[in-house]
């Protein structure tokens, strides 16, 4: 197994598409499927899957791009930290370009502030160890996929007594956002393409309320084109056959029913689940991960005082609505004009996982 080409086979993809077409024969209603994972967004566009499917299947991108759901206030805080002497900000690459209220980390970097791109929080810890004279602040942004890694880095920093490593935690968990979208009823969602990586950590259980309370089918799906096609086929079967909606797992080669117990334990050890602000969705109950008091030595917000500028929003930017699936990037007056990947105004245009960036890159018609 090479784990790539096997999941990109043209013949098998044709078979699945035929099956979907068969199931939908005579079915005229529109079917709206939402994914809540930036990697799904990217993979769907990159493989051109939607061009293979019947017109009445609509693909919606939900709040699945970590950078995109991070509110301006968080970015402003990171920017303010970057301006302090002796502070080095370490971050995953896609945070760099996200505009805050008046600046971005990219602009701060060009002005000479110390901002370093890392591929892992452990790299950041290593950097802290090698630069004891500096305060290293890692920008902890991401869902249940990255949070365990950040948690274990904090544990490691605690064990090794590295005192100049801090995390600015903006971590969030996905299921509350899915529930918030269904509760708001602003958008019709017929089925969720549930995030494969997040599910590898959390398992199937957190999706049960979505099925039980709202009757919306959930299928956990992998990221290769054939995974997505098969996942869509499973959703279409559930939606059209009107059988009882359920949580199904297409990504069994990675996702276990109970998730990754070890990762969950580490996450629970380091983080408390509290209410948290999301761009576009407002403050959602029990949706954010905050560093527990016993590890507050590593909590940037508790250890390093900072004054943050007043948060400003560009009133024309509709990233919030795009994240909820209630509007498409095309509906935005800025899209493709003053807001483009070179000069993003909203975060959805920044990250390769962002909906606006994916539309811009792959769908420009």
């Amino acid at each position: 197994m090479k784990y790539i080409s096997e999941f990109r086979d043209k013949k098998i993809s044709r078979k699945i598409v035929d099956k979907i077409n068969g199931t939908l024969k005579g079915y005229k209603e529109k079917i709206s499927l939402m994914e809540v994972c930036g990697t799904h967004t990217n993979s769907i566009f990159r493989s051109g899957i939607m061009s293979l499917l019947p017109d009445n299947i609509e693909h919606l991108s939900g709040p699945g791009c970590p950078v995109c759901v991070t509110p301006n206030a968080y970015i402003d805080t990171a920017i303010a930290y970057s301006r302090l002497p002796d502070v080095v900000i370490t971050t995953f690459g896609d945070m760099i370009k996200v505009p805050g209220s008046t600046s971005s980390l990219e602009k701060e970097k060009a002005s000479g502030n110390d901002i370093k791109i890392v591929y892992s929080p452990l790299e950041s810890l290593e950097f802290a160890k090698n630069n004891p004279g500096k305060k290293i602040i890692f920008l902890g942004v991401g869902f249940e996929t990255t949070a365990p890694l950040v948690a274990s880095t904090i544990l490691s920093a605690s064990e090794k007594k590295i005192r100049n490593f801090f995390v600015l935690s903006g971590h969030k968990i996905i299921p509350p956002a899915m529930i918030a979208l269904l509760t708001s009823k602003e958008i019709k969602i017929d089925g969720f393409i549930c995030p494969g990586h997040v599910s590898a950590i959390i398992g199937e259980k957190p999706y049960y309320p979505i099925v039980e309370k709202f009757g919306i089918p959930c299928v956990i799906v992998g990221f290769e084109p054939l995974d997505l096609l098969e996942g869509i086929e499973m959703l279409v079967e559930q939606i059209t056959e009107k059988k009882n909606p359920s949580v199904e797992n297409q990504y069994k080669r990675v996702v276990r029913k109970e998730g990754n117990k070890k990762a969950l334990a580490i996450m629970n050890k380091v983080f408390d689940v509290k209410d948290s602000p999301w761009r576009g969705l407002g403050t959602l109950p029990k949706s954010g991960l905050y560093i527990k008091d016993i590890y507050s030595d590593f909590d940037a917000e508790k250890q390093i005082d900072i004054k943050i500028e007043k948060t400003k929003h560009n009133p024309k930017c509709i990233c919030g609505e795009v994240l909820c699936g209630t509007k498409k990037p095309y509906d935005c007056k800025l899209y493709g004009k003053s807001c483009n990947p070179e000069n993003p105004i909203g975060p959805c245009m920044v990250s390769s996982e962002g909906t606006c960036a994916a539309y811009y890159k792959f769908k420009k018609q």
């Binding site: 784990y3 493989s47 591929y119 990947p341």
Partner: protein
């Protein structure tokens, strides 16, 4: 904000050197605005210069800032020669002479410079060019990163060779001489301390190109370095006279390149190559050009990967591996800085 203020606040970002959209706008807005002339305005890999008589020359320049200096399959020295000779070769010019400027950071070890210049000597011998002039500057520690090299090159254009985008017509085929993505990832693997067996494809292309030119039917060529093959396709389609269709299935991407790119979240279509060429050729000569390429060691894995289309004017459309369609757009931002 007034325009003056805007200019004062604007800064050069890494993306201005990425070979993508930002660099394109920097060149078009600033450089062409001030230096523009008919030769430069072509923005080709090399400038085509008419001398007295019928001889035409190509002239090009390139700076090398790769980090790290040494990587699997090459080093800054091999790049500095091959990169420049390839810019001449893809214009249809036989590379002849190279200039070489070193900007060296104080404290660089003699041994490092010895190794780099060894590579340059070997590479220029292989590419059959001579280094005929040069310059050396040493700057204080911290004012440059180890060593930067600039090379310029002069080549003589072959008779009756007029390669230009203007020659391209609907139905023309697009050929590449082999596998993509190796150079960028070879450099990345050292930088990010990943263990892979990926080696840079850095190689001089003139020998291969000379054979292709003798078959005839070549309309336009480019070496897909920074910005990868995607950027070359976008550049070809840019004038909006025709579209391009690329078949993903026909692209050859080695397994190690495709796995490593997946891990790093990179798209091989945008990764730099240093021994590849994209040629747009007339439909009826495509198979004989391909046959000639396959005889050469650098063209063994050559293939036809797409064609010029009447529809989708100005756009590059990829038929994906599963049979779907999507647009290939210019590289946005900086994928990998200091790759060459």
């Amino acid at each position: 904000m007034t325009k003056n203020n805007e200019i004062q606040n604007k800064k050069i970002l890494l993306s201005h050197g990425s070979g993508g959209e930002a660099m394109r706008s920097l060149i078009k807005e600033l450089f062409l605005g001030k230096f523009g002339n008919p030769v430069l305005n072509e923005l080709a890999d090399s400038a085509v210069l008419q001398s007295t008589g019928n001889k035409r020359f190509c002239f090009t320049t390139d700076s090398y800032v790769v980090n790290p200096l040494f990587f699997p399959g090459g080093d800054i020295g091999t790049l500095a020669i091959n990169g420049t000779v390839n810019d001449l070769a893809v214009m249809g010019a036989k590379p002849l002479y190279i200039s070489c400027s070193f900007i060296i950071e104080e404290g660089l070890s003699w041994e490092t410079l010895d190794k780099i210049t060894d590579s340059m000597a070997k590479a220029s011998k292989k590419a059959k060019v001579q280094i005929v002039t040069g310059d050396t500057k040493v700057v204080e520690k911290g004012s440059a990163d180890k060593i930067f090299i600039n090379t310029s090159g002069v080549g003589i254009l072959q008779k009756n060779i007029f390669l230009s985008k203007n020659n391209i017509k609907t139905g023309d085929k697009i050929i590449i001489n082999g596998e993509i993505g190796a150079h960028g990832l070879a450099v990345m693997s050292i930088r990010e301390k990943f263990k892979t067996d990926i080696k840079s494809d850095c190689a001089p292309l003139w020998d291969l190109i000379e054979g292709m030119l003798s078959v005839g039917g070549i309309k336009f060529m480019r070496d897909p370095t920074r910005g990868g093959i995607a950027s070359v396709f976008c550049e070809i389609a840019e004038n909006g006279m025709f579209g391009i269709k690329i078949i993903e299935e026909f692209l050859s991407i080695p397994d190690n390149v495709s796995s490593f790119s997946e891990i790093l979240g990179l798209d091989p279509l945008y990764i730099a190559n240093e021994g590849k060429l994209i040629a747009v050729v007339s439909k009826n000569k495509a198979s004989s050009i391909l046959a000639s390429m396959k005889k050469h060691p650098l063209g063994k894995k050559a293939s036809i990967i797409g064609e010029i289309t009447k529809n989708n004017k100005g756009k590059v459309v990829l038929e994906t591996i599963i049979g779907g369609f999507r647009i290939i757009d210019r590289l946005i931002g900086e994928q990998l800085p200091r790759i060459c």
